[in-house]
């Protein structure tokens, strides 16, 4: 839910010019089939149905830098008149994208060929039969050069349901002028922040929304636990890790180092508060880096990054993976073209484009070694390391229910009672997985 919104906010001034260039660049690709058709019609063999390229619709959020549109145009050109990819913009908020998509998909809308899917929709869309699985030989190719966490996010029941395009994850951002070395654990960070006084604030996502689920799942994974049992059906939420994760949440929320508006903070409130200079730590996605450089250079000058803090000493912090995978609509009349187009959009060249123009981290591992990409992500190594050990949000068709259950049980964080709430959380999560009752 969080990630697409974030990418949108990334401010990359360079993008604006390229967008215009891209708009004009695509015309040539459209003209050639028309010319062919005109010439052919003089020979009286041309009907519109035969020679007009098939048009594929790509439903994805309206990425602001224009990288997605440019990728769509490149791939239309590469198809040499067989198909063109039309870009259909969805809202910025991932839950709203899902709301619009699921209603169309459930109604069997044939207009949806390619879907820019948030990683958390894979299981739901696959189980409902709304997207088509990828052939095993294609899937093998896809898995070969991509980050394991990204391909895992497109997996459900041993099959690949989408091709990973962009990815994202959270890092720890801190002020190196106030904190010489990044804290290794949450407990350490809270203590350091408290000792810094007024400017010690830690920015996290504490509103009652999917971002709170992300925060909890990451803390739980860092403590060595998981929400779902290995079979993916039942609830796990092991006692010890759950209690540890809840204790960190409680301690943070009741610490003077918490932001007073913690219970209402999303990624963007955290970003703005950090840019104001009165905070020393923040866990957030990579879009905060270009944003800070554009909005508040004096803060950016002192901004440093590290891996997400751990919960237990000796066990590195683990964060959930985000990003966009491309799935093929089950009712698409041209699935063979749609698979080809999706593979083209998610290719190395277009991932480079999405990274350099849109600031979206690539899923192809080799790109993290390219200078062009490293210029955009000076934290590329930390990012890649985090992504390699990233954790999946619960991969169940009932993720939306589960996320409501988790975020409603743990909000506000200041009132969490680790012992009692671990039990309540387990009960509520089990109810969500049976799709029972209200949340």
């Amino acid at each position: 839910m969080a990630i697409n919104t974030l990418a949108l906010q990334a401010r990359l001034p360079a993008g604006a010019h390229s967008l215009n260039r891209a708009r004009h660049g695509g015309l040539g690709g459209l003209l050639s089939p028309i010319t062919v058709c005109v010439v052919a019609s003089l020979l009286s063999a041309c009907t519109r149905q035969v020679d007009q390229p098939t048009s594929l619709h790509w439903y994805v959020y309206a990425e602001r830098s224009g990288a997605f549109e440019q990728a769509a145009r490149r791939c239309s050109d590469a198809a040499q008149g067989r198909y063109t990819i039309e870009f259909v913009a969805l809202p910025a908020d991932a839950s709203q994208q899902r709301e619009q998509l699921v209603r169309r998909l459930a109604a069997g809308d044939p207009d949806i060929d390619i879907i820019g899917m948030d990683v958390i929709w894979t299981a739901e869309f696959a189980a409902a039969g709304w997207i088509l699985p990828w052939e095993e030989n294609l899937a093998r190719q896809v898995r070969r050069d991509r980050l394991a966490g990204a391909t895992e996010s497109a997996n459900y029941r041993e099959r690949l349901w989408a091709i990973p395009f962009t990815t994202n994850t959270q890092l720890l951002w801190y002020r190196k002028d106030r904190v010489p070395t990044p804290p290794a654990t949450w407990d350490e960070m809270i203590s350091v922040a408290e000792s810094l006084g007024d400017v010690g604030t830690i920015q996290v996502q504490g509103e009652r929304y999917e971002g709170l689920t992300v925060f909890f799942v990451s803390l739980l994974a860092s403590a060595g636990g998981s929400v779902l049992a290995p079979d993916g059906e039942g609830v796990s939420l092991e006692d010890e890790p759950t209690r540890r994760a809840l204790s960190v949440m409680r301690r943070l929320a009741n610490s003077p180092a918490a932001d007073p508006a913690l219970a209402n903070a999303r990624e963007d409130q955290a970003r703005l508060a950090f840019e104001s200079g009165r905070s020393s730590f923040m866990v957030n996605y990579t879009y905060v880096w270009p944003s800070a450089r554009a909005n508040s250079p004096e803060v950016a000058a002192h901004m440093a990054w590290a891996r997400w803090p751990s919960v237990a000493k000796g066990r590195p912090g683990r964060v959930t993976v985000g990003g966009i995978n491309l799935g093929i609509g089950a009712h698409s009349p041209h699935p063979e073209y749609a698979f080809e187009a999706a593979a083209c959009i998610a290719s190395q060249d277009n991932q480079r484009l999405a990274a350099t123009l849109g600031g979206l981290p690539p899923t192809i591992e080799a790109l993290y070694d390219e200078g062009e990409v490293r210029d955009i992500f000076p934290f590329a190594d930390v990012l890649r390391e985090t992504l390699r050990e990233a954790v999946q949000r619960p991969q169940t068709p009932l993720y939306s229910d589960l996320s409501l259950a988790i975020s409603h049980s743990l909000h506000p964080m200041r009132d969490i009672e680790p012992e009692a709430d671990a039990g309540k959380l387990r009960e509520s999560a089990a109810r969500a997985l049976r799709s029972e009752g209200l949340f």
């Binding site: 709301e99 189980a127 932001d259 508006a261 009752g437 209200l438």
Partner: protein
């Protein structure tokens, strides 16, 4: 009202037929369809698992603390906002009615909040009360997060509602005010009634039907509150109204059976409110004159 003749009656039916048909299509059909859906266990993601469960969904909702909590929240916002709106709306209506100078400007200015989209208005309130980006804390010398505590969040929600819809109330009441014959007020003045007496003994009793209509409209509207809360707190801090519970179940969880049961219950609440006004307060919707 005089009894219209049968030809006039037929004409009346013909004239309102298009509206009635439109209402049946866009309102009656969805309402009946949700009623039907609410009797099934039906998830949009698993259409094959659809099965008839009778009233089970209603039992689930009515035995859930989530429903009763949100019902209480909704009533609180409804009563809180409508009560203040009535008083403020009456004051504004009197101002608009009596304005001697710049009458049109006064009327226009007072109506501005009503012309602003609710979501936009709610966002401005959210930003205003945010401790980082907002000005309210600075203005009052406070350092709290209004929307992060239950009761202060309710205050902001109710204030947003009041700010937004008082003009609507004022507009309806202004219509009622302008119907009061000047003669009556002059006669009262001759009889020695002071301003307060004229207001409470003459103006308000004559406005009773209009006030009831205004209250009914606003109560029904306030009970269905959604966008203000969605933007301000998303229902967190124990401020969730019933409509948001319905949204979560129906739209987010795609649980059509359970969600429809919530929607039908909201519909029944709205019917109950309307019935209360019409039966309980003796309101007469078809007659512009007081029935007593």
């Amino acid at each position: 009202m005089s009894r219209p003749g049968s030809r006039e009656r037929r004409l009346a039916w013909c004239l309102c037929a298009p509206a009635v048909i439109a209402m049946l299509v866009v309102t009656a059909y969805p309402v009946l369809y949700s009623l039907w859906l609410s009797l099934f266990r039906y998830d949009l993601r698993f259409p094959d698992e659809r099965r008839f469960v009778g009233l089970e969904n209603y039992l689930t909702v009515l035995s859930s603390p989530v429903w009763w909590q949100s019902f209480f929240n909704t009533m609180l916002v409804t009563v809180g906002s409508v009560a203040v709106e009535l008083v403020l709306g009456l004051v504004l209506a009197l101002v608009m009615h009596r304005a001697l100078v710049a009458r049109r400007l006064v009327r226009t200015a007072l109506l501005v909040p009503y012309g602003i989209i609710t979501v936009v208005a709610a966002m401005s309130w959210r930003f205003a009360f945010d401790p980082t980006t907002g000005f309210v804390d600075g203005l009052l010398g406070l350092e709290g997060a209004w929307l992060a505590q239950r009761w202060t969040a309710f205050i902001v929600i109710i204030m947003t509602e009041i700010w937004k819809t008082t003009p609507f109330m004022a507009l309806l009441l202004l219509g009622g005010l302008s119907l009061i014959p000047e003669d009556l007020l002059r006669a009262a003045r001759v009889d020695g009634a002071n301003a307060a007496q004229r207001l409470f003994r003459v103006v308000l009793p004559l406005m009773r039907p209009v006030i009831l209509v205004a209250l009914l409209f606003r109560t029904l509207d306030a009970f269905r509150i959604f966008d203000t809360v969605f933007i301000l707190t998303r229902g967190a801090q124990g401020t969730e109204p019933v409509s948001l519970v319905g949204y979560n179940t129906l739209i987010t969880r795609l649980n059509l059976g359970l969600g429809s049961a919530v929607s039908v219950l909201i519909f029944l609440c709205v019917v109950a409110i309307a019935a209360l006004y019409i039966r309980g307060f003796g309101m007469n919707l078809s007659d512009s004159e007081d029935t007593k």
